[in-house]
Symmetry: C2
Subunit: 271 residues, 2 copies
């Protein structure tokens, strides 16, 4: 039996995680897990893990690495007391040879001893800070998923991983753009400062009203589009890399960690 | 023909790097390469590289990863226009099965297609900022190497890599400790804020006057010992890990990169 976003959001973070684990919630996580890092997730066979980790190190804005599992171990112990990467994401995308093959609520059936899971910081984290500063974030207020776009922004390649960066976009009141930049720059583990401000054509986005992932948003003339590097970048990159199997979170539905979002290092500390 | 520290320090950074590459300078690099990140270096066989990279991700204070080579490629292209990891460090330590086997001015003879080089941020970077704030750094003023100590400070293990963190120590005028903390916390790629202040016994250092690496310093009663996580930590860790071969910089003699030390991401950008 599925619970709604509004119902889940009213619960404490522990209960939110539990509902996701039990498969009772399979939708987006914007605004959930307040006060803790949320994570994009990429799972690869061990043979590709070193190159993927290099890719993250070389591209820290789209891929701020906040956790890596031991090979074959689904317990991401550096991110929380009890995080099972096989069940604790609302929805998973399974890619085979670069193509989306399936979307499932858990991956217990296909997890195996050869897989390595990577957690990457997520822009939801700094959105809390924008909201606290009184800057409205439309997709949160309106229960939708942030719009995301493929771009021509260069990434530094590593092994088979190469291609343009994906960005997420928020319409910011034009007079508050500087403030939004300053706020987000305080969260380097959550993509940090924007990678582009203004004209979408400059980064090869043809039509802002047609995002590649997520939902379109209103674009009032009083606002400026601001673009942040996005943890969905690996999902564009693995299309090119054509791994035999690669599992990710479904864009918008993230892993809720137990690492405070103002932690100076992304490590869960037992209290 | 070797050049002295004072001679080298008077040269521009490019010329400093060139002298090191040619084997003309084999000593410590404190105060050199001004304005750019310096790096601790660890080189492992590819079979250990994923675990070592996990170790860095899980222990970002002692091991802030700022660059990783491709397997077998000595050109660390993300750290500069022309950095050859086989020649560009003043002196290298070669460890076999955890024991220091040799110290050499270059590793051209033993580099091979199976090696991976890791660059970790270095406290020399924030020392520039301390000096600029008018906080004297004794070992720089006195042409010696910062004192470093093994401690019982926990690291999060990864594969064979486990053990206590190594720290570097600076005597700070007691009334300026808070300021030194604030300054260093601005450099997360250079170990960030201190891991301990005051009583050395609390982190199992028996005798401050006998560092495990580097040189002892005067300890006036007006000053407080302040301890930062240190990039020599891997050199203590690999004793336990007993890799068949592992190559590091000789403590105190670092890689001079071309990445500005105030860069928000550790990537060389062609100008």
């Amino acid at each position: 039996m599925l619970v709604s976003y509004q119902t889940l959001r009213a619960r404490p973070a522990d209960a939110q995680r539990q509902a996701i684990r039990l498969g009772e919630y399979q939708s987006h996580t914007a605004g959930l897990g307040k006060g803790c890092l949320q994570a994009n997730v990429v799972i690869t066979p061990a043979a590709y893990a070193l190159d993927f980790m290099r890719f993250c190190q070389r591209n820290p804005k789209p891929c701020p690495l906040i956790g890596v599992s031991d090979t074959g171990n689904p317990d991401m112990f550096t991110l929380g007391a009890d995080i099972d990467i096989r069940t604790d994401i609302p929805a998973y995308n399974i890619y085979r040879y670069g193509e989306l093959a399936d979307t499932v609520p858990d991956i217990r059936a296909i997890w195996n001893d050869d897989l390595v899971a990577f957690a990457l910081g997520c822009s939801f984290t700094f959105e809390h800070a924008l909201l606290e500063a009184g800057i409205d974030v439309w997709h949160i207020s309106n229960n939708s998923t942030v719009p995301m776009y493929r771009t021509s922004i260069f990434t530094v390649p590593a092994g088979p991983f190469r291609g343009g960066s994906v960005v997420s976009m928020r319409m910011i009141p034009s007079e508050r753009v500087d403030e939004a930049v300053a706020i987000s720059s305080r969260f380097p583990l959550a993509h940090g400062s924007p990678v582009h401000i203004g004209d979408p054509a400059a980064i090869d986005i043809a039509d802002l009203s047609r995002p590649d992932w997520g939902d379109p948003v209103p674009m009032p003339v009083t606002h400026t589009p601001v673009f942040w590097a996005c943890g969905v970048t690996p999902q564009a990159i693995i299309r090119n890399a054509k791994l035999p199997i690669c599992i990710t979170h479904k864009p918008g539905t993230m892993l809720l960690t137990e690492v405070p979002d103002d932690a100076d290092v992304p490590l869960f500390q037992k209290s």
